[in-house]
């Protein structure tokens, strides 16, 4: 394979390596923690007690504190600490990443204490280069999370945009 602009040394111009589409990265694990649900809901401003106390959640009929709808973002940032490196390896300029889309498919309930294994796959990706040397990369990453019993519990899909 020929060298890509993104692999050259001494240049700022990077672009997405389209041969990475379909590739999966090594799995990561994350233990679901009650306090991370509490912190996230607190930062967002949601004072619903079910997110802040196990007792309140149980009083409301839940076995434990349920996930906040966007809790999966904490699995990615806190659990998948190698992702920044993977993005660089794909030829993306991490300083220029914009978040385009985010989607969750909640396949089964997840509770504190569950140990999730996440596998990120490059689902789609394209790179366009302008004559002026500018480039636009659009990459979609899918993360499938499986719990400690081997059950698929969550699918996260994220589209990132890198404009240079």
């Amino acid at each position: 394979m020929s060298r890509r602009p993104g692999k050259q040394e001494g240049t700022q111009c990077r672009m997405f390596d389209t041969s990475k589409v379909g590739q999966s990265f090594p799995p990561f694990t994350i233990e679901v923690a009650r306090c991370k649900v509490h912190e996230l809901a607190l930062a967002i401003g949601d004072t619903n007690p079910i997110y802040h106390s196990r007792e309140a959640a149980q009083e409301a009929g839940y076995p434990d504190v349920p996930l906040f709808p966007t809790s999966p973002t904490t699995f990615a940032f806190w659990g998948n600490t190698n992702m920044g490196k993977h993005l660089v390896d794909m030829g993306l300029n991490v300083m220029r990443i914009l978040h385009g889309e985010e989607e969750y498919e909640y396949l089964a309930p997840i509770y504190p204490g569950d140990v999730l294994t996440g596998v990120v796959t490059v689902a789609e990706g394209k790179s366009r280069q302008g004559r002026d040397g500018s480039s636009l990369d659009i990459v979609t990453l899918e993360t499938l999370y499986t719990n400690q019993e081997g059950q698929e519990v969550l699918k996260a899909r994220q589209t990132i945009v890198v404009r240079e």
Binding site: Y62, T70, E102, Y106
Partner: protein
Amino acid sequence: MSRTMLPAKIYFEDVQVGDEIPKLVTAPVTHLQLVRYAGASGDFNPLHTDPKIGEMIGVGGIIAHGMLIMGFVGQMLSDYVGPQALRKFGVRFKGMTHLNDEITCTGTITEKYEENGEGRIAGKVQAADQNGDVKVTGTFVAALPRRA
């Protein structure tokens, strides 16, 4: 896959296509909130916490995490159907949110149907600031319990 239906916020029979979801209006976004959100989410991109970076790349100071705005929409949905009812929730980020912006989240029911033996509703959602500038648009699917 069977799931136990947890405490009902709203029943399938009570929702009609075209219904509006009770809106959520947030307090003005503050720098402290973004620092707190960074710690909670694990997204420490300095664009969201360091005013100098935003000035440098010409976006006019600190920009809120897009995921914070998705979180506001998530709170609206959680208030409406409960957190365990959601089956799908996705957004597209349309615009940047600055400090002091007050975000209003709204939504409408677009479909009502059966799937996997569940009564489901689908809807579209949006978050916009005090000037009506749209920050996020999205869709969701939720499974609702039926009245016995």
